[in-house]
């Protein structure tokens, strides 16, 4: 594994995009780095945390993105360089601070990297974070490859210091998570000593005056970007079509043009500084062709902003035809790829390109569908969440009042699907389960008879659910909050949080006790182990009865992936095939048809269940749910 802290100028190394961003920050002399984990951004701070001691940095996993940005901004206000990273949803959380920080400005270079997740592969939403740069009047850079990811990060610190403004970098999954060659530069030896200038208070007030200053700074940024090396054109002098791209769109466009062999007909304008757009640079290149196609991820951000510049200058430029997301030549949802871009260009140029027969995909499917089992999104073997949702499902069915579970963000979001028996009925933002519960928990006075439940993970609780809990107690809402405490930020890669007892850099930290917090917020709190299914069901049923107010049930059981690292399987689990009822009346494959732990298999030949020893974590929950006591657990 390559250390991003090696001081080997000129050396070329293979780096993941997020590592390249982290290296860029190191080369820029960053001192304070903060983030809340979220795919596809997590490795930026994760990588920096690993070299924090060696490089003398402060690196932290903050409780949420707003706090993370505030931490990084404080470094900047004291004259140090600060880096903050988050995913697109995180920027929504941090935006309130960001839209005031733009007015106060900053001092040391402050860079905010936002990694978007086109197609929402590991997100609840699909969102283009670039809109925030325009909203906040802040400079925005979009790396198109790995070298640029590093260079742009470094440059962003310079721009930030020159303009005294935070600078945004927008990455996407295929830049953040792919790997490529990156040539290293020197690491700086020392940095300034921090000091907060009390003579220069940082007040957003008076807003209008500050807003004016902000616009002036943005105008300066525009001038700076006119000469930026991150913006360039490649192609014939007068192309039939000019592609305008940013970010990952650049590579896709390049590949498509080469594959289609239309280099002499199509040019590519690659823009790296996408807000504010360098107007003259754009205008100069718009004269090259009357047909423009935009290739960019998620929203028509570049597309609309270029059109805006064109509209202002259309008398000089004459008629132009624009294609992109607006006329659906490029899809306006989901992720781009070379094939999509190739087809867009094929349609516009009326050229044919068939690297493989049209029915190829169909043939592949036919040839492999038997070999590759379909896999639903599901919990790991031995995941405590499966046991939790099992207990919820049983308790709600027995209770029979139509109770429902408001969802939240985490591994347990999979509770919406078969793995969680479809129990989770809403999915929005971090903390929104408890927040919605505050509202649903008031509707009984209008006749709502259904019990209201909300799930929330431990990390999500610290992130955003605490205000909701305070609100619930204060305003007298009635609901049952299920705190799924698996002692990990599991979904994003096991980052520590205030409940785990350690920090991002591996230092010991005080544990903030979930139960104590909930009690302070006035909730009646009980704790169960979800692996004890019967007790969990019983406790849920008891808590679901009429008593009003906020109740919290903490379902405490460590994430199976974390447990596997430090303990042996607690049980050896086996199926007694003589007892297994298989598909007959009395069972009908409860374990593999409904419970669906990946550690259980169905033997089609014998018509009995069996245990996949390679996968089984030995939690023993299946032994508890087997109606025929055919699944047996023995202490391992």
């Amino acid at each position: 594994m390559i250390s991003i802290a090696q001081n080997t100028p000129g050396k070329t190394v293979l780096l993941m995009g997020n590592e390249a961003i982290a290296r860029g920050a190191l080369e820029a002399g960053v001192k304070v780095c903060a983030a809340y984990p979220g795919n596809p951004s997590s490795e930026i701070i994760g990588t920096l945390a690993k070299v924090a001691k060696e490089m003398g940095l402060h690196v932290e996993w903050s409780v949420n993105e707003k706090v993370a940005l505030e931490v990084a901004a404080a470094a900047s206000l004291a004259g140090l360089r600060g880096l903050c990273a988050m995913k697109q949803n995180g920027l929504n959380v941090a935006s309130d601070f960001l839209l005031n920080l733009n007015l106060t400005g900053c001092k040391g270079g402050l860079v905010l990297v936002v990694a978007d997740d086109p197609a929402a592969v590991s997100s609840s939403n699909e969102e283009d974070s670039r809109i925030f740069a325009k909203l906040a009047d802040l400079p925005l850079l979009e790396p198109a490859d790995f070298q640029e990811a590093k260079e742009m990060t470094k440059m962003a610190f310079e721009i930030s210091e020159k303009l005294e403004l935070p600078v945004l970098i927008r990455s996407v999954t295929r830049v953040s998570h792919a790997r490529g060659n990156v040539s290293l530069d020197e690491l700086p030896k020392s940095g300034p000593k921090p000091k907060f200038e009390t003579s220069q208070p940082r007040l957003a007030f008076p807003a209008t005056a500050n807003h004016k200053v902000l616009h002036e700074k943005l105008n300066k940024a525009k001038q700076m970007f006119e000469e930026s090396a991150f913006n360039f054109y490649r192609g014939p002098k007068k192309p039939e079509w000019m592609l305008v791209t940013s970010g990952s769109g650049w590579m896709y466009a390049l590949e498509a043009v080469v594959n289609l062999k239309v280099q002499d007909r199509v040019g590519i304008l690659k823009v790296g500084t996408t807000w504010p757009l360098p107007e003259n640079f754009v205008l100069n290149h718009l004269t090259k062709s009357d047909r423009i196609l935009f290739i960019e991820e998620v929203d028509p951000f570049l597309e609309n902003n270029v059109k805006e510049i064109y509209a202002q200058n259309c008398l000089d430029l004459g008629l132009k035809a624009f294609s992109g997301k607006a006329n659906k030549i490029v899809p306006d949802v989901g992720e781009l790829n070379p094939e999509i871009v190739t087809h867009a260009i094929m349609n516009l140029l009326n050229v044919l390109y068939e690297p493989r027969p049209a029915e190829y995909a169909q043939r592949v499917h036919e040839a492999t569908s038997e070999l590759v089992p379909t896999r639903a999104l599901g919990f790991c073997a031995g995941c405590p969440h499966r046991a939790t949702y099992w207990a919820i499902k049983v308790a709600l069915a027995l209770d029979g009042k139509g109770g429902f579970v408001l969802g939240d963000i985490g591994c347990y979001s999979l509770g919406m699907g078969p793995s969680g028996f479809g129990q989770m009925k809403t999915l929005h933002a971090m903390g929104s389960g408890a927040g919605l519960a505050c509202g649903f928990g008031q509707l009984d006075r209008f006749g709502l008879e259904q019990p209201v439940l909300a799930v929330c993970g431990d990390s999500t609780f610290y992130h955003a659910a605490m205000p909701a809990l305070a609100n619930a107690y204060y305003n007298g809402a009635s609901f049952l909050l299920l705190l799924l405490d698996n002692s990990a930020t599991a979904m994003t890669g096991f980052q520590p949080h205030p409940g785990t007892g350690s920090t991002a850099t591996g230092n010991e930290a005080p544990v903030i006790d979930l139960k104590a917090i909930c009690e302070v917020f006035g909730a009646r709190v009980e704790v169960v182990d979800p692996f004890d299914v019967a007790t969990t069901v019983e406790t849920l049923l008891r808590l679901l009865q009429d008593e009003k107010g906020v109740k919290v049930l903490i379902l405490k059981r460590e994430c199976a992936l974390v447990s596997a690292k430090h303990q042996k399987r607690p049980y050896k689990v086996e199926v007694d095939t003589k007892r297994c009822l298989g598909e007959s009346c009395g069972c009908n494959r409860l374990c593999t048809r409904i419970f669906k732990c990946p550690g259980l298999m169905w033997d089609m030949e014998s018509g009995k269940a069996c245990v996949d020893e390679a996968i089984c974590t030995g939690c023993g929950v299946c032994a508890e749910i087997c109606p025929a006591t055919a699944i047996r657990k023995e202490a391992a």
């Binding site: 499902k393 069915a397 027995l398 029979g400 009346c585 048809r593 749910i625 109606p627």
Partner: protein
């Protein structure tokens, strides 16, 4: 036609026709009960299931069921096959002092256990929370815990499916009419059973006009008597019809009309007041406090009563003609009301049982004449 859990859900659970008899419970993981309500936990998807086959509210061919138990169809329309009707009471104070009426059921059951007619029983204790739950019992002490009624339906038959059994014991069951019907269906079912139903040798049925839904009824009682623990419930005979609640050394008197809203919908379509498919059916005798009506229906029932009488456990008297007439009237009235309720619910033919049109006509005409 058996349509498995899906059919049970559509025909019974969704239509609130579940009698909470317990016949479908502890057979599989898909059905469980909590506080008197049977809930579906997951979809089973089998096309045929014991749940559907055993349920007294799915598709019951009454002629077929009666044929199997008595060797003749559903022709004794008044109150089922009758060998003999007497009034009776237990002789020992052990039974009479706690009994709802004459203590006959407890005394007979105790006798059957001691004489080895059966080695185990399924009775229905109501522990502290008044929720009836079936339990396997083998001793007199346990029978005493099952004395008295809470007027609430509970899944007694679950205990038959759940056990624990040693695999050899002959079993006796005391059940409500719906439970007795379910037992007859269990015996008749051709599906692989995996329950000890074939070792059930004695069925004592209890007269029942309706049973209450546990949860709303308990919520109502808690409101009326506070959080006091309830010791006994008793409904006084007509014309008074008052629910007497003994709780915390106090007697509360509640008009029966106040609790009618908690009658299970399943009871409104029930045709059977006298537990017609049992060996012996036992109820009260109007106007004769401390006496039970006993209907002897089978040789097993007749034999048990004769031996108990001979052993001095039970004393019997002739049931006065007036009381007999009244019993028949009440039984036919229940049938007529059930047919009326089914008509309101979309027609008798869409109900839970099959019965020939001429028998339905007979019930309706005789009941009309008999009705007060």
């Amino acid at each position: 036609m058996n349509r498995g859990l899906k059919g049970l859900e559509e025909k019974v659970l969704d239509r609130e026709l579940c009698a909470a008899c317990g016949a479908c419970l502890s057979l599989c993981p898909y059905l469980r009960s909590w506080k008197g309500r049977v809930a579906k936990i997951d979809n089973c998807k089998l096309e045929e299931g014991r749940c559907f086959a055993y349920c007294p509210r799915t598709e019951v061919d009454l002629d077929e069921v009666f044929q199997r138990v008595f060797g003749k169809g559903y022709e004794d329309i008044e109150m089922g096959p009758v060998r003999k009707i007497v009034m009776a009471r237990a002789k020992s104070r052990i039974w009479t002092k706690k009994a709802q009426t004459g203590g006959v059921v407890s005394a007979l059951f105790d006798f059957a256990l001691r004489e080895g007619v059966v080695q185990a029983g399924i009775l229905t204790p109501r522990d502290g929370d008044m929720l009836p739950q079936g339990k396997v019992i083998t001793r007199r002490k346990e029978i005493l815990r099952c004395v008295g009624s809470s007027y609430v339906a509970g899944p007694t038959l679950e205990a038959l499916n759940r056990g624990p059994w040693n695999g050899k014991e002959r079993i006796g069951i005391v059940g409500l009419p719906c439970q007795v019907l379910a037992l007859a269906r269990m015996k008749a079912s051709k599906l692989e059973k995996r329950t000890p139903i074939d070792r059930v040798d004695l069925v004592i049925g209890l007269f029942c006009t309706w049973a209450l839904d546990y949860k709303p009824f308990m919520a109502f009682l808690n409101e009326r008597v506070g959080r006091r623990s309830i010791e006994k419930l008793n409904i006084t005979p007509p014309p008074e019809r008052i629910l007497e609640v003994t709780a915390g050394n106090k007697l509360y008197r509640i008009p029966v009309d106040d609790i009618r809203p908690f009658i299970r919908p399943s009871c409104r379509v029930c045709m059977d007041m006298t537990a017609e498919l049992s060996d012996l059916s036992v109820g009260t005798v109007e106007g004769k406090e401390g006496w039970n009506t006993v209907i002897v229906r089978t040789a097993i029932g007749e034999n048990l009563l004769r031996r108990a009488k001979k052993a001095g456990i039970i004393e019997t008297r002739t049931l006065p003609q007036n009381n007999l007439n009244h019993l028949i009237e009440a039984s036919l009235l229940k049938k007529r009301r059930a047919l009326g309720a089914l008509n309101e619910k979309g027609g008798i033919e869409k109900g839970y049982f099959r019965l020939s049109a001429h028998l339905i006509k007979r019930i309706l005409s005789e009941a009309k004449e008999a009705a007060p």
